[in-house]
């Protein structure tokens, strides 16, 4: 069974999904960060594939992308770094990134490499839903990869249902209309939106992302979903860290 599906079956609540950019803060930190996140108690991990033009990202993640690219990170190198991570890494691991580097790697080739290193799912925010359904889904399925779609407060109920029907794993519930790294926290408007989605009801569990940064916002999110995703706040910790092992551990343990 896919590790993402298995996780939500065993543990339907309070799942912490942590995002980090591959190759940041140093080119060779990928495996170390993965291992420490697992030991510290993260439940899922999203590894960002850096891109030159990340339009859905705010400054923090943009900067980490640029720094990683300048250091020499690429899709090819990331796969080399991840080779052999299983079975020591037991967490579900997803790759997140923009569609162009994946296309250039070759969709089939990319999915094959994902399967070989033990990737469970993909988040490709600028991949159109119709292109996925018509062109890519069969390939993703063949290599056991779940594609995770985003929904926002502006996504219509009909579209949420379409996404829920055609995807597995979880749905990435973007908390507010913004790029990543917003500082808003969980507002009253968001709670109404979470309640509306929860009442639908849906097949897939949801994780809330964007604006989740600490224990308080994580706890708030967990009242409305199966857990939450932290990205920019974690990148800021990595950027300032003198001791990754210690700082990652305390960041995760402070939240859970």
């Amino acid at each position: 069974m896919n590790r993402i599906v298995e996780l939500f079956q065993k543990q339907p609540e309070r799942n912490l999904n942590v995002y980090f950019t591959a190759g940041f803060p140093n080119l060779a930190d990928t495996r170390l960060i993965l291992r420490v996140l697992q030991e510290a108690g993260a439940d899922l991990v999203e590894i960002g594939m850096p891109y030159s033009d990340p339009v859905a990202d705010g400054e923090t993640i943009q900067d980490s992308n640029q720094q990683a690219l300048a250091a020499g990170m690429s899709v090819k190198l990331l796969f080399e770094q991840l080779r052999g991570m299983r079975p020591a890494i037991k967490l579900p691991v997803l790759l997140m990134g923009y569609i162009n580097p994946v296309m250039q790697f070759g969709i089939e080739n990319f999915c094959k490499s994902c399967q070989e290193v033990g990737i469970d799912g993909l988040i490709l925010p600028d991949m159109p839903f119709d292109v996925y359904v018509e062109d890519y889904k069969a390939i993703f399925d063949r290599y056991g990869l779940l594609n995770i779609f985003l929904i926002t407060p502006q996504t219509s109920e009909a579209r949420i249902r379409q996404i829920d029907e055609r995807s597995d794993g979880f749905i990435y519930m973007v908390s507010s209309a913004s790029v990543t790294g917003s500082q808003t926290g969980v507002t009253h408007d968001m709670e109404a939106y979470f309640a509306r989605v929860n009442a639908m009801p849906l097949r897939n569990p949801r994780l809330i992302g964007f604006g989740i940064k600490d224990r308080a916002t994580f706890n708030q999110a967990c009242q409305h979903a199966s857990g939450a995703i932290i990205g920019s706040a974690f990148i800021r910790v990595l950027a300032e860290s003198q001791d990754l092992e210690k700082d990652i551990t305390s960041f995760v343990q402070n939240i859970k």
Binding site: D53, V55, M103, P128, T152
Partner: protein, 398 residues
């Protein structure tokens, strides 16, 4: 703009593609806005009420039709017959305003009160700030930090027109990055704001919508050429291509007239192989940028390459999906014109015809020495903009 379009192999498909290029590769955060536009743009722009408002503004505010001018001394020099489509005489000094007038009327009918836009050379920024002033709408323009420096007069014009100019500090700090910032702004402000893209790029329906608004250029060329020469078809239409909005407009009504050779001038920068170039069709391959699949300058890993051109308006690593399709299908021929060639052509047109062209436009003129057209052949060059904004660059080369 023509209300009824005949379907051609060069028209956009239902799903937003030109051949293998186009589509809407956007994050979910942009989907509702883009979808709202997609569902409404054809109905709104086809309505008699919209058409009347658009035509009134094009005539009385923009100053259309723009002249089709027989450039006699330039024709003598190249021993052929050259007409210049004078888009430089549009209000604000370039063709960009054809699109912004259309989009602001559309934005009003979609009940949007705020406008965001990107700009490279500043012509689209000025054209957007202009129509926002006209309609009393709030206007935010993103412009690359480097472009802000090299196109200072246009920055001043935008400010005078009441727009807020925000520098794009990421990446190459030029048009590509200004577009990223404008898209991020739209993500952060999903209601009440309309994004006026300035070229035939972006997610469907933008490339088609902008091409339609610019198609007034070729619609007029046909009528004017018929009146002047007895035939509405020239042998060549030449235009410069950054994203490609003026070329899309100049080519539009000739796409199915296969006897008309369509020629696109890209910015070769220091030379196609110099590493400092923006000649997308020479250096790019299929990829996704700013919401559509097109030809894109990129590394093997799919990272977008930072382009170079002396002209801020052509300093872009992609081209619109329509142009990618024209290139792929062999319908248009592409030339890479260097910075130096463009400067020579700008000086030449100034001295021969008393017209100072924009640096972008100068690239189109630079195709002439390569063309070897016969004396009885007719060439139409889209003179997309005037050169006032480029005086600082020109003065260095006088």
């Amino acid at each position: 703009m023509t209300a009824i379009q005949t379907k051609s192999v060069f028209s956009v498909s239902e799903r937003g593609y030109y051949g293998q290029f186009g589509g809407a590769y956007i994050p979910e955060m942009l989907y509702p806005n883009v979808e709202e536009l997609r569902q409404n743009y054809l109905t709104i722009t086809a309505s008699a009420e919209f058409q009347a408002a658009y035509e009134d503004l094009l005539r009385d505010y923009v100053g259309r039709p723009t002249p089709l001018y027989l450039a006699q001394r330039l024709s003598e020099k190249y021993n052929t017959t050259i007409y210049l489509k004078r888009e430089d005489l549009c209000h604000t000094g370039a063709h960009k305003v054809n699109n912004t007038v259309g989009q602001i009327l559309l934005a009003k009918r979609l009940n949007k009160h705020k406008i965001v836009a990107e700009t490279g050379a500043g012509q689209h920024g000025v054209a957007t700030a202009t129509v926002c002033a006209l309609m009393g709408m709030e206007c935010i323009i993103y412009m690359g930090e480097i472009d802000i420096k090299r196109q200072a007069p246009n920055v001043a014009r935008m400010k005078m027109l009441g727009a807020e100019v925000r520098p794009a500090m990421s990446g190459s700090k030029t048009l590509k990055d200004a577009t990223n910032e404008a898209m991020r702004h739209w993500i952060n402000h999903p209601t009440n704001t309309h994004y006026i893209i300035g070229s035939v790029v972006g997610p469907h329906p933008y490339p088609d919508m902008v091409a339609r608004f610019q198609s007034v250029i070729s619609e007029e060329i046909k009528k004017q050429l018929l009146a002047k020469t007895g035939t509405e078809l020239p042998d060549y239409v030449i235009a410069c291509v950054g994203g490609g909005s003026n070329a899309a407009g100049a080519f539009y009504h000739f796409l199915d007239d296969l006897s008309v050779k369509l020629i696109a001038a890209e910015a070769g920068g220091h030379g196609v192989l110099s590493g400092l170039s923006a000649a997308t069709t020479f250096l790019g391959k299929p990829g996704v940028l700013h919401g559509s699949r097109s030809i894109l300058m990129q590394t093997e890993d799919g990272q977008v390459v930072e382009p170079h051109s002396i002209s801020a308006g052509l300093d872009y690593p992609g081209i619109g999906p329509l142009h990618a399709h024209l290139w792929d299908a062999g319908r248009a021929e592409f030339y890479a014109i260097t910075d130096d060639e463009a400067l020579v052509s700008a000086m030449e047109l100034s001295k021969l015809e008393g017209i100072i062209p924009a640096l972008e436009t100068a690239h189109a003129l630079s195709v002439l020495p390569y063309l070897k057209a016969a004396p009885n052949e007719t060439i139409v060059i889209n003179l997309s903009g005037r050169g006032d904004k480029d005086l600082e660059t020109y003065m260095k080369h006088l």
